[in-house]
Subunit: 148 residues, 2 copies
Amino acid sequence: MDQDVHIITVAVDDLDAARRFYVSGLGWRPLFEEPGEIQFYQSAPGQVLGLFDAEALDVDIGDGGVHSRPGGFTLAQNLHDADLVHRTVDRMERAGATILKQPQPAAVPGMMHAYVRDPVGIVWEIAHNPGWRIDDDGAVVFDAPDAG
Amino acid sequence: MDQDVHIITVAVDDLDAARRFYVSGLGWRPLFEEPGEIQFYQSAPGQVLGLFDAEALDVDIGDGGVHSRPGGFTLAQNLHDADLVHRTVDRMERAGATILKQPQPAAVPGMMHAYVRDPVGIVWEIAHNPGWRIDDDGAVVFDAPDAG
């Protein structure tokens, strides 16, 4: 099994609220949308974030289970500097998100981060980690924190 | 706020089980790991999937909430043909996953898919959708299903 994620699908109770936050609030552009059913946003090269009506996701999985309570995951952005972390968190709050953790130093030395919950329940980590970079070919290079 | 996801972090109760499934079972290679704490796997250009000890994630978010029950999301792979869907689902099952939905036609015309839960609770959709392709620059091109 190749080591790829092509779609992150999240169960959403209120797709109109999702659209107000991501499109009107943050300026994102849907790749495709079907009102009341799904919104796709490109989220990385070769990948989309899909916001899917919660009941429709349960029906689609079809095992009789309830998969529609978002939890147990976060999505993250790693930004170029600490100032951009503050500005991004401010913009998310103005667009209707709730700050769970104000920007502050993280456990990794030199890193700072915040946690923000969007109006439909997705928890975002907004961070600056100087030990993270992306090579020209898309490879993530992660300098492990020095314990010394 | 840029339209990017750099990290998908999932709360995991049993990181050893995660390692047995992804590394020993599926042949994935961690980019970085801290035993008992986190495993990072590159999941797209410029992006990692992070499996994070569930209690540590709650502590890291730090708002007093419980964020450590995976639910309300799926990760998906869109594969080249239907045969590869069957082979991937078989391999996941041999590695310890549970099939929630056997490979079968999906709602989108011409598409087939299956749902599989890994041993730590992540639900994967394994699909072949002929209307999905990735351009050389990483742009996802999504042909909306023809309603006619």
